[in-house]
């Protein structure tokens, strides 16, 4: 009954979607031809054509992410932060409880291997977020890589945990730093998240103004947050 009903409802949904997608398609593909008159703006084409000169970053996605839609990114960071906080709140009492049975200690090879790989992963992560404005990748991706390093530690080197307090401190600090950078922009140029640093020449590491700076903070932040989430989840295991 429920299944049949669900199927019917989903069918209607699918029909609606199909009818909306039919005809001149939506999306960049459809907009590539001169379908829209000049009065209409198109973010994608605008950014693709102007981003490099406006921000100095060769990765347009990065410039969109940090400058054009910087507020989104700030919000996104906040969402992650909120999720981490929420996780901590939810698992607050659970964490104090000792887990029922101790997990088996990993073998020496795994232990050593993990310890060996861990800094390399961190380094790779750092590379990704430092070069975010030049190559594919960026703060989030780099942060995720960093967090995977933490995950490795949890899996491979049980008993060794990064200091939660320090992780939290880094998280908060980088969050504050992001806001402060935005506010500096406001103070300097009257506009939040203004790219107030010199843009440098494209394709150089030290270019694109605040983008790499923000990316570094985001990288730290995301890495710590995801690491914290992993830590919370693993600690709450019964």
């Amino acid at each position: 009954m429920r299944k049949a009903l669900s199927l019917v409802v989903l069918l209607v949904l699918a029909l609606g979607l199909a009818s909306a997608l039919r005809g001149p398609s939506i999306g960049a593909e459809a907009n590539r031809g001169e379908l829209l008159d000049d009065q209409k703006v198109n973010f994608g084409r605008r950014y693709n054509s102007r981003a490099v000169e406006e921000t100095g970053a060769s990765n347009v996605v990065a410039s969109v992410l940090v400058t054009y839609r910087g507020l989104d990114t700030l919000g996104e960071v906040t969402v992650l932060f909120v999720a981490a906080l929420g996780l901590a709140v939810l698992l607050h009492t659970g964490r104090d409880r000792k887990s029922g049975k101790e997990a088996e200690a990993p073998s020496l090879i795994v232990f050593t291997g993990c310890r060996f790989v861990f800094p390399l992963i961190l380094l790779f992560g750092a590379y990704i977020f430092v070069h975010g404005h030049l190559t594919p990748g960026g703060g989030f991706q780099g942060g995720a890589v960093v967090a995977s390093g933490f995950l490795l530690i949890y899996l491979g080197c049980r008993g060794r945990q990064p200091d939660r307090q320090r992780l939290n401190a880094v998280e908060s600090l980088s969050g504050v730093a992001f806001v402060v950078i935005g506010l500096i922009g406001l103070a300097v140029g009257g506009s939040f998240l203004l790219n107030f640093l010199p843009k440098g020449s494209p394709y150089a590491l030290l270019s694109a103004g605040i983008i790499p700076v923000v990316y570094v903070f985001i990288g730290f932040k995301v890495g710590c947050e995801l690491g914290g989430i992993v830590a919370d989840l693993s600690g709450a295991r019964r």
């Binding site: 299944k3 669900s6 960049a28 973010f43 996605v61 929420g86 996780l87 989430i229």
Partner: protein, 119 residues
């Protein structure tokens, strides 16, 4: 057939969304429901990306040998997807932690049995 060919990416991502929705609607295990949500997220993300997709387009990254802006795909959906992924991750993480707590309280993840709050 041409519809299929032209819209295969849309069909694919909406199929994911619908499958995810079906899971959420029909499955009673909370973890499976979260998986369903995750599937929906994935489908939506794919949809966003395909909105910005241009046939034979390149990534919106300039390099020193120079590629024309016209052939680049739309960078905005990519940025949006990045945000959406993070949000999805957050929701899923929170959902899992809730599932953990719920299991502590109820000893089950069957949503049909977790119905103390009703009416």
């Amino acid at each position: 057939m041409s519809f299929l060919a032209d819209y295969v990416h849309y069909i694919g991502c909406f199929a994911l969304v619908l499958i995810g929705l079906y899971i959420v609607l029909v499955k009673t295990n909370l973890v499976k429901v979260i998986i369903g949500i995750n599937l929906i997220d994935t489908g939506v993300n794919l949809f966003l990306v395909s909105v910005g997709y241009i046939r034979m387009g390149t990534a919106p990254i300039f390099s020193e040998d120079g590629a024309a802006g016209k052939q680049m795909v739309d960078p905005v959906p990519q940025a949006l997807v990045l945000t959406a992924i993070v949000i999805g991750v957050s929701v899923v993480a929170l959902g899992l932690s809730v599932a953990i707590r719920l299991y502590e309280h109820y000893g089950t993840l069957d949503l049909r049995k977790i119905r103390e709050l009703k009416w």
